[in-house]
Structure formats: structure tokens, C-alpha cells
């Protein structure tokens, strides 16, 4: 069977996202960091209740207050603090399950690719705390030394008031 270029891209990227999900759920965060470029922007805007006709205001733009707006250094700090033995929000650690699907990928210019996925992430913490986080990721991927890396990730949570006590896990 002939595979189109778009299908080939899909077949290449889906295992990338499955691999990433296992890295997160197995708490291999340093390997997970290797999936990002040095100039990465890891961005989680806020989600507002606005009227349907004002849908353009629903997601807060870059430059407004966001939930997360990390560069590589901040992402590294989040990972490095887990090893200090005193990152109490994650020690004992959360048990997570990242389900990633609905991949749509399309080429951009300069060899970059836009990849959109949906996620359901279950988090269980301590005795009975648990939360289901749903949303989407829109990534810009770039090849660095032959391997795909995430140059920009925009995470859109499907929540207005977050029901979780904190966001101490990675999405």
C-alpha cells in the first residue's frame, strides 16, 4: 500500500507522542526534557467564559497572565527541584496516566511541523486526591540532529476554574 507524505508524518509522530506519554508516566523527566529544543516555549494560557460571538477572547494571548509560560530554564528548574527531596507537592509523587490521541499533523515552512493532539490525563496523589485533566496540545516540532524536538507547546485545558489542588505534573 502506498503511504502519502501526510500519512507517513502521522505514522512517525504518533509513536513520538506515545513515547513521551510513557516517559511522563514512568517519571523519566530528564529524558522527557530531551524532547524539547533549547528555545522552547511551554505555554498554558487561561480559558475564559465569554459569549459565543466573542470566542476570539476565550483563550488568553501570550503576554497576558497565563498558567505556565516556561522557557527551557524554567522547565529544567521544575524537573531539577523534584530531585531535591523537598519538592513537597510531588513527594510522594503523583501517579499519572497520559492518554494522547486525535493526532493531526501538517508541515509548516522550514521543515517544521504543527502537531495537534488531545489528552486525557489522570492524576492520583497521596491517599484519595484524584483529578482528570482534559485538553489539547498544539506543538511546533523541529528536527534536531535527526530527532523530532518540541519547539513550542501550547496546552489548552478544558477547564475554567481548575478543580485540581495544584498543577504539579507535566502535560
Amino acid at each position: 500500500m502506498n503511504v502519502t507524505a501526510r500519512q507517513a508524518l502521522w505514522l512517525e509522530l504518533m509513536p513520538f507522542y506515545i513515547h513521551e506519554a510513557w516517559l511522563l508516566d514512568e517519571r523519566r523527566f530528564k529524558e522527557w526534557l530531551d524532547l524539547f529544543t533549547d528555545d522552547v516555549l511551554y505555554f498554558m494560557p487561561r480559558r475564559k467564559n465569554v459569549l459565543r460571538r466573542e470566542a476570539h477572547r476565550e483563550v488568553t494571548p501570550l503576554g497576558d497572565l497565563s498558567l505556565i509560560e516556561d522557557d527551557r530554564r524554567y522547565l529544567e528548574m521544575r524537573v531539577a527541584r523534584l530531585d531535591t527531596g523537598m519538592a513537597w507537592g510531588e513527594d510522594p509523587p503523583s501517579r499519572t496516566r497520559h492518554l494522547i490521541g486525535n493526532l493531526v499533523a501538517e508541515p509548516l515552512s522550514k521543515g517544521e511541523v504543527k502537531a495537534k493532539t488531545a489528552f486525557l490525563v489522570y492524576r492520583s496523589h497521596l491517599e484519595t486526591d484524584h483529578q482528570l485533566l482534559a485538553g489539547s496540545r498544539e506543538d511546533v516540532l523541529r528536527r534536531v540532529n535527526g530527532a523530532w524536538k518540541i519547539a513550542k507547546r501550547t496546552i489548552l485545558l478544558d477547564a475554567n476554574v481548575l478543580l485540581d489542588k495544584n498543577l504539579s505534573i507535566f502535560l
Binding site: L65, Y74, M77, W88, D164
Partner: protein
């Protein structure tokens, strides 16, 4: 507890507090009445409703409230409850509208709260409906340097009296520049904690080197921020002061040091320093040389539910609090500096904040300990620094001898008792304003 019973939850001679105030539903219900039904509450910022007809949806305790700027530019705080059956008339977080229509039967209100239109006024109501008495319920509104406060209490004193000498300190962050501040936010999340745990924590600098050491360490390593230790905290020249109900900590800053905590790193320090130096003449004119050069507000809370500035702990039952995180930026600051402060604020505090994510399990377990049979009978110990606070020759309020103290927390729970035991505002003590407010800044900005 019935209405005539007086609360005595803290023993001021030992610092022991009755843990049931963190979990008891009847006490919580009375807090909603006697604290959140009475006090001036922070509900928003003028910059969230900059234009005529703008609105911002907020809360006073558990009551949903619409902050509006009406057709004439006046601010209103309107209970978001249709006077017919009680449906909300606004379901958006913010927007711009001249009228709010109830989606149940179509009653429509102006953004000044007046009931303007009722379908079937003649046909169904026989022109007998008393529309002027059926406007949206309005709270009193006053502002401090752009921060909007509201109260349901007709007999409350002015906001100026309510803030009192606390404003002498608050001005050093919220009232520095002629152009005022811009609020961004909020991010909102639900924490399984009693609202008082996060308010009390604002004056708890004792927890910082334990709770937050992991993030402090990596920020020292990656951002070149100063190391954090118990020794630094115990030797800190910073001050801890309780002023007219409000809990303040502040830094006695040497001359010419920048005045922000969040966002300062090795890389951004020159930005902060240049801005500080460039704005010092203006700040001296506004606040007087002493406050401009020596006083820098630190962690603090405005009674009852302000948490580190314009951030809100909104009660949602005794065991839950909805937390709202905003960042305030000086409008006239350079964009690069605004960016550094915004990123520092949301990366440290907030749902995913490197610091704040480690707070919540402590607070929730403090809350949960108040539920179990034995736990709730055993008091909390707030004895730190007992007998080591008093008046100060230079600083208004009750000043602790040391930065690390539980004096503010003890006085916060005494303030709580004053509200809970008062039959009316006339019984709630207000300290007279005695501080010298040098400079041109006023409560209006």
C-alpha cells in the same frame, strides 16, 4: 453556636487556637454573615473594567457579583441574581454590555443595576410590579489606588478608615506611580483548604525555608537568586507588623535597591535597578523620601481574604477555597520589566507556581486535621514570639521584634473574633489613622 454565644477561639496569653474554626459548618456560616457580609472586600481592579459598559464577574464570599462601569463611568458591585427567581444575569467572566438579561424570563437590568424591562408588565403583571424596588442588589463600592473594594454593610466605616495605617505600607507597592497599575488575571483553581489557612500563611515567613526550599535552591542555581535558609530568615532585618486588622511584613530597604520580589534574577536585576532609579524622584514625591527609599511591602494580607496583594481566597464551604491569582503591573513600566514581573509572578505563585504548588498539601492537612474526632480537640500552637511585639517609634501598627513571629497570626484570629462577636459595625474597633502619609499619593491613587 447560637448568635448570642461569644467566640473565644484564641488564648492571647498562650497562642493556642481552637481548631474547629477550620472545619465547622456553623462557624463557617456565621463567618459568611459577620465577616464577608460586613468587611470591605477586594473584588476587582479598575483596569479590569477600563471602558464604559465593561463588566468583570467576581465574588463577595460565595455571593456572585458583577463589577460594572456604567454608562456614566460609575462603578457598581451588583449581586448577580435576578430579583424574580434568582437566576444569574451574567454567565461570562467579563465583557462589555449596557444591559444584563436574565435567561429565564427575560427581565433586563441596566449596568447600573436598575430593572429596565420586564416582559408582560401590563399583560401579565397588570402594571402592579414595583420595578424601582426590584433592581439588582448593590453593594457599596470604594477604591484604593485602582483596587476595587465593596461591602454589603450600610454601617461600615469608609474604606480609608478600614485600611487605616495599613495603607502606609500598602502604598509602597500599590501607589508608587502617577499612572497607576494594570491587573492581569485571574487564574482560578479550587483548593481543599479552609480560607483562613492561606490568609494566615501570608505572615508566616517561618515556613518559607522548609516548604519552599526545593524551588528556592533551583532558583539560586538557575536564576542567581539569593539562597534561602532559616539563618537568613532569623537574621533578617525585615519587619512583621499588624495594622488595624491587616497583616503586613515589610523590608527596611537600603537606599537604591529595587522593590520587587518576583521576577528578579541575575539577568533581570539591571532592569529592576534602572527602573527603580528612574522612578525614585516620582515615588519620593508621591510617598515621601522615607517610604520611597526605606520601606518595601513584603508578604501581607488585607483582612479578611486578600492574599499577597490583589489575590483572593474565596471561601467555598469550610473545607474548600477558590483561589484567584492576579498580577498587578505598573502601567508606566517598560515592557521588558512587565514581562519579567509577570513571568516571575505566575511561575512562583499560581496553580503551577514553583513555590505555591508546595503550599497546598500543608494547608489542606491543617484543614483536615480539624475534622477528625481527636485532631479537632487539640489546639494549634501559635506561641512564637509571645510578648515580643509592640509599638515602634517609626512604624505604625503592632510591630514584632523579629521578622519570624506569629504575632500577626495571633492578632488575625483576634480580629476574626472581633468581627464574629460584634452585633454591628459599631462594636468592631477601628484604629485611628496616626501615620504620617508624606507625599502626594492619596487613597484614590
Amino acid at each position: 453556636m447560637d448568635a448570642t454565644q461569644k467566640y473565644s477561639v484564641i488564648d492571647p496569653t498562650t497562642g493556642k487556637i481552637d481548631r474547629r474554626i477550620f472545619s465547622d459548618q456553623a462557624i463557617y456560616d456565621q463567618e459568611m454573615e459577620r465577616i464577608f457580609g460586613r468587611a470591605w472586600l477586594m473584588i476587582g481592579h479598575e483596569s479590569l473594567v477600563p471602558e464604559v459598559n465593561d463588566f468583570f464577574h467576581t465574588y463577595m464570599g460565595e455571593d456572585p457579583v458583577i463589577l460594572t462601569r456604567d454608562r456614566q463611568g460609575e462603578l457598581h458591585a451588583l449581586l448577580n441574581m435576578c430579583r424574580h427567581r434568582g437566576n444569574r444575569v451574567v454567565r461570562c467572566d467579563d465583557g462589555n454590555a449596557t444591559r444584563f438579561m436574565c435567561t429565564y424570563h427575560g427581565w433586563s437590568y441596566g449596568n447600573d443595576g436598575k430593572l429596565e424591562h420586564v416582559p408582560g408588565t401590563s399583560e401579565a403583571y397588570y402594571d402592579a410590579l414595583d420595578k424601582p424596588s426590584l433592581g439588582l442588589v448593590q453593594a457599596r463600592v470604594e477604591t484604593y489606588a485602582g483596587i476595587v473594594f465593596a461591602t454589603w454593610a450600610e454601617d461600615a466605616p469608609s474604606l480609608e478608615a478600614f485600611l487605616g495605617d495599613a495603607r502606609w505600607y500598602l502604598d509602597t507597592v500599590f501607589n508608587r506611580r502617577d499612572g497607576g497599575m494594570q491587573a492581569l488575571g485571574p487564574m482560578k483553581w479550587l483548593e481543599p483548604v479552609n480560607w483562613k489557612t492561606m490568609v494566615d500563611n501570608c505572615s508566616d515567613n517561618y515556613h518559607v525555608p522548609t516548604t519552599h526550599l526545593s524551588s528556592a535552591r533551583v532558583q539560586t542555581r538557575y536564576l542567581g537568586r539569593p539562597p534561602l535558609s532559616h539563618k537568613d530568615q532569623f537574621e533578617s532585618p525585615n519587619k512583621h507588623v499588624f495594622v488595624n486588622g491587616h497583616s503586613i511584613t515589610f523590608r527596611e530597604a537600603p537606599d537604591n535597591t529595587p522593590r520587587y520580589v518576583h521576577g528578579i534574577s541575575k539577568d533581570t536585576f539591571p532592569l529592576f535597578l534602572a527602573y527603580h532609579e528612574a522612578t525614585l524622584p516620582e515615588v519620593e514625591r508621591r510617598l515621601g523620601a522615607f517610604r520611597a527609599r526605606h520601606v518595601q511591602l513584603g508578604n501581607h494580607s488585607i483582612f479578611p481574604n486578600g492574599v499577597l496583594g490583589f489575590r483572593l481566597a474565596l471561601p467555598r464551604g469550610p473545607l474548600q477555597t477558590e483561589f484567584w491569582h492576579f498580577v498587578l503591573l505598573e502601567k508606566g513600566a517598560p515592557e521588558a520589566l512587565k514581562r519579567a514581573i509577570r513571568i516571575g509572578s505566575q511561575a512562583n505563585n499560581g496553580a503551577a507556581g514553583l513555590f505555591e504548588q508546595d503550599d497546598v498539601d500543608n494547608w489542606r492537612q491543617v484543614t483536615a486535621a480539624s475534622k477528625s474526632r481527636l485532631g479537632r480537640r487539640i489546639s494549634q500552637d501559635l506561641s512564637m514570639g509571645l510578648g515580643h511585639a509592640g509599638p515602634h517609634p517609626e512604624y505604625p501598627g503592632v510591630v514584632s521584634e523579629r521578622y519570624i513571629s506569629e504575632n500577626n497570626q495571633r492578632l488575625f484570629y483576634q480580629r476574626w473574633e472581633e468581627f464574629m462577636n460584634a452585633e454591628s459595625w459599631a462594636e468592631i474597633p477601628i484604629a485611628p489613622i496616626t501615620a504620617r502619609f508624606e507625599g502626594t499619593a492619596t487613597i484614590r491613587g
